[in-house]
């Protein structure tokens, strides 16, 4: 029984693509057959975060328009043979695809994959409607900031009105040091405001920047965010793992200078 999950947020730059890449990689590490679909037509990025940008021949729009077969467009991941990426088109726009075509596309993938993850574009226009059309479950990514939470609330309202089966929250870029001194909303605060069940929280971790630089998702690695992403994947598979937010993954030097500045 395969599941189609859309990763969305409303606001741009909160970590949808990073989250998609890491959940996809984590699920593949756990033995699942995963298809990652970049639905951001015109502004594709999941390929670079995955480090697969040099292997693109065909894209999502080619598949929808029948220029190629699905198998020709899917790119196999360099590390996990059960992980595939369907890249987006860079020279087209959102109107190149409609929700019905997206539903058919995800249906076609269900035979070959356990999880189909859709990386949704920012905004609430056609790109969003395309991405959520075929999804059984939505993961709403937000950060503990007013603008991101306001947009997440709007997205949750739209998903509820569209009868999305299950909606869960991922709070990204949490800084436990700032929460502790009262200068950042806590994960509990965000949950309370948005009233959606929590799937996981990711610490603000400089290892994410390094991982994106290298084009290698860090799920499952020995980093605070890598562990947090792996926990999310295990929860998706039904394991009961309590949410704990590890200390922000900052280098010893930056933590020391931070400490000295505060003192």
């Amino acid at each position: 029984m395969s599941e189609v999950i859309v990763i969305t947020s409303g606001k741009g730059g909160v970590g949808k693509t990073t989250t998609s890449a890491n959940i996809g990689t984590g699920l593949a590490m756990l033995g699942m057959r995963v298809a990652l679909i970049d639905t951001d037509i015109g502004l594709r990025n999941l390929d670079v975060v995955m480090g697969l940008e040099n292997r693109i021949v065909y894209n999502l729009v080619d598949v929808v328009e029948g220029n190629c077969r699905m198998k020709q467009a899917l790119i196999r991941d360099k590390r996990y043979p059960n992980l595939y990426l369907l890249p987006s088109a860079q020279t087209r726009d959102k109107s190149a695809v409609n929700p019905e075509q997206m539903i058919k596309l995800t249906e076609d993938l269900k035979d070959d994959f356990d999880y189909i993850l859709l990386d949704c574009p920012a905004g609430i226009e056609q790109g969003f409607r395309n991405a959520v059309a075929g999804a059984d479950r939505a993961l709403v990514v937000t950060t503990p900031e007013v603008s991101a939470i306001r947009d997440a609330d709007r997205i949750i309202g739209l998903l509820e009105n569209g009868d999305m089966g299950q909606i869960q929250l991922i709070v990204n870029r949490v800084r436990t040091d700032m929460v502790r001194r009262g200068d950042m909303m806590s994960v509990d605060d965000v949950m309370d405001i948005l009233a959606v069940p929590l799937l996981g929280a990711i610490p603000d971790d400089e290892a994410i920047v390094i991982s994106t630089n290298q084009g290698e998702p860090l799920a499952g690695t020995d980093t605070p965010s890598g562990q947090a992403y792996m926990d999310i994947c295990k929860r998706l598979l039904g394991e009961d793992i309590p949410v704990c937010i590890p200390e922000a993954g900052r280098s010893l030097i930056s933590r020391l200078t931070g400490f000295l500045k505060r003192a």
Partner: protein, 92 residues
């Protein structure tokens, strides 16, 4: 750090939380944040006739709640008003 806390009164995380609650409630009811602020001020004026309350501590908003005899969760207006002293303000 402590100095800033004294000047501002509240930590920025708490300020963000309160602003968001008010803003999202206003957006859900399709009315301006001023509207909720006006209700809050009026409630504050009435309640403070009878008990000691701090206007700063009052929290108003829109939520979804279950009511007796209504099958679905319906929008509900709520006001949390911490009472400092429950004795009837010197009237009795």
């Amino acid at each position: 750090m402590n100095r800033r806390r004294c000047v501002v009164g509240k930590r920025s995380g708490e300020i963000a939380r309160k602003r968001l609650k008010l803003l999202l409630a206003a957006e859900k009811t399709d009315c301006s944040p001023d509207f909720l602020e006006m209700i809050k001020d009026d409630i504050c004026a009435v309640v403070s006739k009878y008990m000691d309350i701090d206007p700063e501590e009052i929290e108003v908003g829109i939520t979804k709640a279950v009511f007796k005899g209504v099958p679905d969760r319906v929008p509900a207006f709520y006001a949390n008003i911490p009472a400092r002293c429950l004795s009837y303000k010197g009237i009795i």
